[in-house]
Assembly symmetry: C2
């Protein structure tokens, strides 16, 4: 069996100008990065009416991986095969994890976006620009303190950490500014991975350069000795930080293995941020394609909910259909099967675990949007299992389709494509979960009850105290962004299936004023991953001709 | 008077394919990055005989700046105007200092390489790739220690620090690995600016991907508990680190304001490294142009000497002429005039300070290469001053020419161009300063006496002890790379002019085994700059149309 990179390397790519032409873009409207990648110049001239929007989300993922990105790519190719002009809008991967354990985030098998090695490595430099912008701001903050501290910043209350696009656990907690008078003011600090930067969320929610600068200026960097908040605007460096993102704000264009256009841009976490590609990328896809297929991170409870509640109001467009990706393996895992036994047929566990899928179907239906289920078939799935899950979903009057895109590319999702296109023609009556001006507690309770299926929200003493402070600054009516484990509907990663009557515990809040939301932290969310005992880097190589091995 | 960025923005650029065509490169032989930047695919097919090589260096620079890069760009344009097909080979600037004090490193006035804002910001991502590669290696080292430390690495003896392309003094000295068992092993660490990374020197001395990987593998990362050296190869991550540099190794192509080709690639420091653009860039320029004009960092005592002694053996080509840039202001400064009084005519001080220029002329002549002096004229220089310095140099039988490239572009260096072309037709008998197998002490003594004009070299106790250790590993016959202040021929920044009988004090050595040299540290060399009280970032902005202000 060929690996993803072997399949990717075996397919000759089309010149990016040719892909752009499929979207009606002239060579002057794109900025090439090599021969198979480009940035799209914004704003688009004379955009057409926006096309239909399809959001792909999933059940709670398992550590085994559900192949959501692979289904997204395969669905897009299938829709194009069926004659529906379709553009993908995807998140761009972080480089850090590539050196660690995980495969890339570019799909797999015959459903990939390419050139996969470039997309997984430096791509068009967006992540590096974000790292540079984030850490330039950090340096300017420490320099301000060092050079007289006119803003009276309290070094113990700086909330703007540093970032790096590397899995580097040794940088999680640091002490900086050592070395005496000329080398800064000593204080406790730490590094997150770049995709966890608020700037990533800011970039992904910005409508244009002006909006980006406005958002950058209102980012909270810390508090002064009087406990008052201090923003980037107070430091007067919003222009410089925005300038560093002048190219990063432009969406990137690549192709699928079947030479269909894919716009890949931005990739915030789906726990401490909203988990969707940029608003500009989705808008561009909507303007250029009859159909846009996009995805949101983790399951419907995280990325799905955030797409609806955080991204949709900024995007100005709601999904015409939602696809929920499920796997037989994940249903059995949710039904109590150990990871090692997932390849053995087990209809009982499948039946038990499918409550997770049903909960996600209900959640998404509450938004008034047609739902379709895609079963991403693995070779170990038995026909009986697939038939059982299909019947289960059909009993809910929800269209369901089995896909084999890893092996077959777009041809493995033609039936899904047909069902999705049909769904987008159904009436869609988008309904918000809560009114636009609901306070944080109202929003969290609605999400807990209507999306997670839980009972109530409990605040720690610290979180309660924060809510009072936030009220003073008007931050208590911002949209909430729930940071929760992706493995469970609850805040306990081990509570699988579809638990009832549980409580969501909010440890603390983090105001992300540039992004325009408040993160509610439940449990510990790791914002700097570590490398494993045998990092993937040890098996990577490049030969004299630039041929890469060990990247997957 | 227009600023550099205003002049740059007012000039319409030619498409990079057109610039490539001037070099005989087809669109397939370059990888565009936007419409006005590209990488050149290597190896070049059917290269022609290498052209003539002109090295531009300077007197000891002053804090006021001598405009060496501006002269290089103007000279290249002048040679092209005069009908000599000329390619520039330049260093690429670091982003960090751009946010601080200094102007960019892309020339000035009407002698610039463009697009200056892109070249000064993220350019084609080389610096970011180096940062990522450097810090990935750092993370892999700490992860190795964390995950069992099979190599028995001593955390107190890790010599591979971290880097970032930002002036961030607060990161000079840090403690990392705090936070308990799962967050690494606590140890003292620190960040350098990216251009100080050994990987930068390695990239700039590599002949191809294979050579790059070989050099990466032999980089010293630290010592084990038995005090034995440990290399990247021992960690088995040379392939992964090289892979991260697969695009960064390719030279970048841009244009001057007069639309002549400029290859800009790599920018190591000229104190702790060798201070020249990449060997691949110079080789490419030599293959594509009849003339290549290149530069080396700081004065002839630093970059000039290193070009001759470190770069030339790898390049396989010696300069056909050397241009030494001098300014009236710098001569007066070296003659004792305070910085505030440099704009007042002072023929005595000029005469006194010109000993600095004469010393550099002698140094470069020792290599057996024709020397030409370029006086980079500033508006405050009087005719009498220019005439006096010209006469002084002519008395040495050295061709001298006054340039006004800032104001006039290539037209301001036509006379210089003629003299330089004439010089390259003179016989050149390149002579090494010391034999290829000379030991460190022999090399340092020769540089001190023949280049600096000093008497002898003194080692600290630590440096003496190191020399003994190095002998054990065969490192004592590697080329030496002198890290010394750029402001003086001595190791004391305040000793101006051309001092005699002084001693160079070597504090310690740093083996840079990947680069293939040993750095001799004299005095303190700052490898992480800080930001000033009023950083340039505060005055930068970008408007809704992407128009940039405050970058210079």
């Amino acid at each position: 069996m060929s690996s993803d990179i072997e399949i990717s390397q075996a397919t000759p790519l089309e010149p990016i100008e040719k892909i752009a032409a499929k979207l009606g873009l002239t060579p002057e409207q794109i900025e090439p990065y090599g021969h198979t990648k480009a940035k799209i110049d914004l704003p688009l001239v004379a955009p057409k009416q926006p096309g239909k929007l399809v959001l792909v989300t999933s059940i709670n993922p398992t550590p085994a991986g559900e192949g959501k990105s692979t289904v997204v790519v395969g669905l897009g190719d299938a829709m194009n095969q069926a004659g529906h002009q379709t553009v993908l809008a995807l998140r761009e991967p972080s480089l850090g994890p590539v050196m660690g354990l995980k495969g890339g985030a570019t799909g797999g098998g015959h459903a990939q976006v390419v050139p996969m090695e470039d997309i997984n490595l430096h791509f068009t430099g967006d992540m590096h620009a974000l790292t540079e912008a984030h850490d330039t701001l950090a340096a300017l903050i420490d320099n301000h303190i060092q050079q007289g501290n006119a803003l009276n910043l309290d070094p113990r209350q700086i909330v703007w950490k540093r970032v790096i696009d590397i899995n580097d656990r040794a940088l999680r907690q640091t002490v900086i500014g050592l070395g005496g008078r000329t080398s800064g003011v000593p204080r406790q600090d730490g590094f997150d991975i770049t995709v966890a930067s608020e700037l990533m969320a800011v970039l992904c929610l910005s409508e244009d350069l002006t909006d980006l600068k406005r958002r950058v200026n209102r980012i909270l960097i810390g508090y002064n000795y009087d406990k008052e908040p201090v923003m980037v605007g107070d430091l007067k460096v919003g222009g410089a930080i925005t300038l560093l993102l002048k190219d990063a704000i432009k969406p990137n264009l690549v192709q699928t293995l079947e030479h269909n256009p894919a716009i890949i841009h931005g990739g915030p976490f789906a726990n401490i941020a909203h988990g969707c590609n940029s608003v500009l990328a989705t808008q561009t896809a909507l303007q250029l394609g009859d159909y846009t297929v996009t995805e949101a991170g983790f399951g419907a409870d995280l990325g799905g909910e955030k797409f609806m509640d955080i991204k949709t109001p900024v995007l100005g467009k709601t999904p015409d259909a939602v696809v929920i990706v499920a796997t037989i393996r994940a249903m059995k895992y949710n039904g109590g099967v150990k990871r090692a036994d997932l390849e053995t047929e087990n209809l009982d566990a499948l039946q038990q675990g499918s409550v997770n899928l049903k909960r996600h179907i209900q959640s998404m239906q509450q938004y008034g949007v047609p739902v379709v289920v895609a079963i991403n078939r693995f070779t170990s799935d038995t026909d009986a299992e697939v038939a059982a899950l299909t019947a289960d979903v059909e009993a809910l009057d929800v269209p369901v389709s089995t896909t084999t895109v890893w092996a077959d590319g777009g041809a493995g999702a033609l039936d899904l494509a047909e069902k999705v296109v049909a769904a987008t023609k159904q009436p869609s009556h988008f309904t918000r979960l809560t009114p636009a001006d609901a306070d944080l507690m109202t929003q969290m309770t609605a999400i807990t009850q209507k999306i997670y299926g839980g009972a109530k929200v409990e605040l720690s003493t610290k979180a309660e105290r924060q809510l009072k402070t936030f009220a003073k600054y008007g931050w208590d009516h911002l949209p909430v962004c729930m940071a929760k484990t992706q493995y469970s509907l609850t805040d306990d990663a081990h509570a699988l299936g579809a638990p009832h009557d549980f409580t969501i515990h909010v440890r603390e809040f983090a105001p992300r004023l540039g992004a325009g939301f408040v993160v509610a932290m439940t449990g510990n969310v790791l914002t700097m991953p570590g490398l494993p005992k045998h990092p993937a880097a040890l098996d990577m190589d490049i030969d004299a001709d630039g041929q890469i091995t060990g990247l997957f």
